[in-house]
């Protein structure tokens, strides 16, 4: 763990520890009540989920076309984080929906898009885990296709959902980009940075151990 990672983790930890008080102190939303508070975790997770997907796709492209071996580690690390932050997004979303629309899942456009993108990265991890030798390259192809797919998923799901008569949909809540929200975004982002670089380094070290193991045998 580098010093930077330690600082990031310590800061993120401290910020997340005091986050409940800050969120508690934020203005009480009148229609949604207490459930609105989940938004302070939901939105940062959703943003980082998308960021992780972008990093995974970009790193995969660099691995595939630039033949940069390190990039595979970054792609894998980002893909795992995409799945983790995706889960947070997908769990906190329906909690919100339950209160706003009375049911857990309403095929809300954004939530559905998130689900599809999340599935792409779960598929990526399954391939990496069970694909056997050579699955690093195949995975890179998958992640690249996944990233290229984001706009298509977004447009198609949006049009699909908005062209249907919707009875019980409350439009997205008016949100004041208040201090508490930015506070949470910063905390989550620091956590994300630390996890990403630590996981990528772990992967680099694993590759090095493999190399050493192979070299040892040569001697």
């Amino acid at each position: 763990m580098s010093t930077l990672n330690k600082i990031e983790l310590a800061l993120a930890g401290a910020m997340l520890a005091v986050a409940p008080w800050i969120i508690d102190a934020a203005p009480y939303e009148s229609t949604m009540g207490l459930v609105q508070k989940i938004f302070y975790f939901h939105m940062p997770a959703a943003w980082l989920f998308l960021l992780a997907a972008i990093i995974a796709g970009t790193a995969s492209a660099m691995f595939l076309f630039g033949k940069k071996r390190d990039m595979d580690g970054w792609a894998l690390a980002a893909a795992e984080l995409a799945v983790v932050f995706g889960i947070i997004t997908l769990v906190t979303g329906p909690l919100w929906a339950r209160k706003a629309w009375g049911i857990w899942w309403v095929w809300d456009a954004r939530l559905t898009s998130s689900l599809i993108l999340w599935m792409i990265f779960v598929a990526y991890l399954l391939l990496r885990r069970y694909g056997g030798p050579g699955s690093d390259k195949l995975g890179a192809g998958m992640a690249l296709f996944g990233l290229a797919n984001v706009p298509f998923i977004f447009v198609s799901v949006n049009v699909w959902r908005t062209l249907h008569p919707q009875t019980s949909v409350v439009p997205t809540l008016p949100v004041q980009m208040g201090g508490p929200l930015w506070f949470c975004i910063t905390a989550f982002f620091l956590l994300f940075l630390a996890l990403l670089s630590m996981r990528a380094r772990l992967e680099r070290q694993r590759v090095r151990i493999e190399d050493l193991y192979l070299a040892e045998d040569e001697a």
Binding site: L64, G131, G134, M142, A148, S156, W160, L163
Partner: protein
Amino acid sequence: MKGFFRVAWLVVRKDMMVEARSLEVVSTTLFFALTVVLVFAFGLVREGTPVGDVSAAILWIATAFSGTLALGRTFERERQADTLRALMLAPADRPAIYAGKLAGMLLLMALVELVLVPLVGLLFQAPIVAYPWHLAALLLAGTTGFAAVGTLFAAMLVRARSRDVMLPILLYPITVPVMIAGVRGTAAIFQGTPDPDLARFWIALLLFFDVVFVTLALWTFEPVMTE
């Protein structure tokens, strides 16, 4: 460029010759498509009439499922005598080999759809002749998008472990936009008051998807295929 099309054509013709001899992929895929339609009919037809606008959905689900089966079989065939390696060994443009395999898949799936569409029209009273050009464009553009991604994935999975499971796992999430566009576009022309403009929007989206993913697949084929 001339060399590209020549090689692609050679691969397509070879695939057609192989298929003409055995008829294995065509016959099994067609029968499977029929089975899928039937299974959905049991679930979605109440008292002799289909529930809601399910005919479009059934058409596309049957296409996607049987397409997956055909992709798996086609590349299993190239794996058996290691002929995919022989193709990669030839001094031809490798993306041209991809293009040839894709064209072969499209021909095969077009054949399946030629049977599927009338079948869905017959069994679910879908107005398949109301907007024939819209329907044809949707099927062509949608199938191209599905097969473009599918052919690349099936080719790269040839040397992977547990490839039979991996193909649908990787392919379906990526082709969600194709399924949505295909189903909604088809439903738009099948519904009580048809909406051809909406269908046209979905056709445009599919074409855009095709351009992006065919380009991307041609581009990634060489690096993912070199072990």
